[in-house]
Subunit: 267 residues, 2 copies
Amino acid sequence: MTTDQLYSEIRKKGTMLCVGLDTDYAKIPACLKSGRSAGEAVIEFNKRIIDATAPYCVAFKPNLAFYECLGHDGLTILEQTVEHIRLNHPGQFVIADAKRGDIGNTARMYAKSYFETFDFDAVTLSPYMGSETVTPFLEYPGKYAIVVALSSNPTSTDFQNAIIDGKPIYQAVIEKMMGISTPENMMFVIGATKADKLKEIRSFCPDNFFLVPGVGAQGGSAEEVISAGANPKGGLLINSSRGIIYASSDSDFAEAASLKAQATARI
Amino acid sequence: MTTDQLYSEIRKKGTMLCVGLDTDYAKIPACLKSGRSAGEAVIEFNKRIIDATAPYCVAFKPNLAFYECLGHDGLTILEQTVEHIRLNHPGQFVIADAKRGDIGNTARMYAKSYFETFDFDAVTLSPYMGSETVTPFLEYPGKYAIVVALSSNPTSTDFQNAIIDGKPIYQAVIEKMMGISTPENMMFVIGATKADKLKEIRSFCPDNFFLVPGVGAQGGSAEEVISAGANPKGGLLINSSRGIIYASSDSDFAEAASLKAQATARI
């Protein structure tokens, strides 16, 4: 998918919402578990959440931890989840939230995993081991590396305030990555709980999409994020996971998720 | 496994070697591929490499990228690989080389994946998002978080020279992690291509095991690593992956791997 196609979807639907599919079997409504195996319940939950929220979002983001913990069955569910989106909701941007980051030889295998074995549009990456952890992902036209620059979690300040060449490390990460990529193959994760930082980062990174987690369960406000971080075309994917998919734990879970999605990250 | 048990295995076998199972189907000897599916060839290769090298190493380290790229079949192979080690080579320390790192809620699912769904002793983690990415892994007795402090790859200096509170980031990472853990649940990845740094790090981190990659294909010397990084009890796991498992691409691949293993990281 090109960024023009993604901008077009955002304008058409009037939203920047990305729905995070952090599906935890323990949190799935009881009505879905009856008569189903754990794997069957998770895929049924995902399909119903996807169908209910797809009209009100432009992206889906399964977090791989929630699938790996089910072993090989988990990856089957992940494959089925992506396939369900592709078949039923064309135009959605599908992100593997993986936060991978390894040496070049290994990064090539991860790129192959998400862009060939699985049919994702983008994958989140951790920058700690440097630019070679990212470069293999840039070689796939229409696919994106999404590098974590500034995260939204409480301990993000443990190391993300480090200084390199007089700049905070998140700025050094963004500038290094901008130097080896284009907005057509690179996006950045910028935590939503830091709207002031979002504005500062937009000033030196005007054109790349930002994937913004932390709205909802983590406390960030989508309105503040849009005000601080949008560029003239938009340039944001605003993620909410738990706040939407677990909006209700009863049989109305899909309707509740739909209503939450309709109320989040509208433009 | 306790560190005393691991130290005892190291003394008994006279080696600090960890064999990295970065099994790439494209690099498996042709003789193993004939009449086998890709998955069957990979598991057969792993079993024969494990059986050939187990007498001469104390740890095995599958890198998850090489299994994920085969989709759900890859995780089945990973499960079978760990099971083969557990059944046939008790006493081996088995590491998931995953370099994971995500917010607490997600880190808990990753910890569940590697320590409950899969039967690993340890998992490698990336520190960029701070201490909460690590804490869920510390709650499993006899299991270890292995946090990447200083990596061995060419672009490791892109961000690992950043300064935080007057110290290099890798030192800040190690000191922060030492503050929330003990040597019984925490190890560090320290790249072998930097023997001088290994000595420096050992001076402020005397007791934790270091997992040292970069020996062999990446150019590090095991002798230099032991001289610079060992503590009085040992305290090192020295990894070699490609240098051992691809020592020969012919039908003698297992014998060649065994000979390479016998010659690497002896004490």
